[in-house]
């Protein structure tokens, strides 16, 4: 799925956010909760107000996991294996839509907001494919 060029572009983009991981994570989640209120159903135990510590903490976790995926693009299945188990057996978030569409869309918006023109169609395409690949691995063990 991901060509060598795609992998390079994803790594490049990730370089650019490496200083702002917490911000990117928090903003992605905030946008997701605002645009897709149904995603809040998975966080009844969270304070979902703007700037909440829980959102920042969780956003940081999500971005760190994606960062791990970026470092292991040739071996996503193994790198995300534990997370895959977690999502399949514990979290059980709706597999086709949550990570690939809703979270991915919001991550892309955050990247576009920060990179502007530098969020080229080629990068957009590579990130979209990357998020699809991540979602596929996370959904592997659902049934």
């Amino acid at each position: 799925m991901l060509t060598a060029e795609d992998k390079k572009l994803v790594q490049q983009v990730w370089e650019k956010v490496s200083g702002h991981q917490e911000d990117v994570g928090a903003e992605t989640l905030e946008r997701m909760f605002a645009a897709y209120p149904q995603t809040k159903t998975y966080f009844p135990h969270f304070d979902l107000h703007h700037g909440s510590d829980q959102i920042r903490g969780h956003g940081k976790k999500v971005v760190a996991a994606l960062g791990k995926a970026v470092k292991n693009l040739d071996n996503l299945s193994q790198a995300l294996s534990e997370l895959s188990n977690l999502h399949a057996y514990n979290l059980r978030v709706d597999p086709p839509r949550f990570p690939s569409q809703l979270l991915a869309q919001c991550l892309q918006v955050v990247l576009a907001v920060h990179l502007g023109k530098d969020y080229t169609p080629e990068i957009h395409s590579a990130v979209d494919k990357f998020m699809s690949a991540v979602a596929a691995v996370l959904a592997e063990k659902y049934r």
Binding site: E27, E30, R31, A34, A35, Y36, Q101, Q105, C106, Q108, V109, V110, A112, V113, H114, L115, G116, K117, Y119, P121, E122, H124, S125, D128
Partner: protein, 147 residues
């Protein structure tokens, strides 16, 4: 009937007021064809779509992108009456163009990313939420006459 709050209407019109329909439309359609290459199936007669550069520079893509986004502008003028506004277009997309409505959702999401890239921080989470709602409702109206 979809309800639009005063704030939502404001967020829609303030963004739309600053959109260059030709540029944004061209970019959104180009990105659709680049990021989801299977959508090229609807544009066999558009000529060279062989690379991102070719797609971005393709005059037919630009012209069609402008057409699509101009039509979007009609939706914005008729927020209270979208299904009627898009009735004929919906029939067209079903009966003549044979476009799977899933593609409307894809284009809507891409348009949002294009807006985010253009407006940067001004494209706040509330802005995005309102526009995600808008593109969803437009997609729904376009699919409404399918049979």
């Amino acid at each position: 009937m979809v309800h639009w709050s005063a704030e939502e209407k404001q967020l829609i019109s303030s963004v739309w007021g600053k959109v260059n329909v030709e540029e944004c439309g061209a970019e959104a359609l180009a990105r659709l064809l680049i990021v989801y290459p299977w959508t090229q199936r609807f544009f066999d007669n558009f000529g060279n779509l062989s690379s991102p550069t070719a797609i971005i520079g393709n005059p037919k893509v630009r012209a069609h992108g402008k057409k699509v986004l101009t039509s979007f502008g009609d939706a914005i003028k008729n927020l209270e009456n979208l299904k009627a506004t898009y009735s004929k277009l919906s029939e067209l997309h079903c009966e003549k163009l044979h476009v799977d409505p899933e593609n409307f959702r894809l284009l809507g999401d891409i348009l949002i990313i294009v807006l985010a890239a253009h407006f940067g921080k001004d494209f706040t989470p509330s802005c995005q939420a309102t526009w995600q709602k808008l593109v969803g409702v437009v997609a729904h109206a376009l699919a409404h006459k399918y049979h």
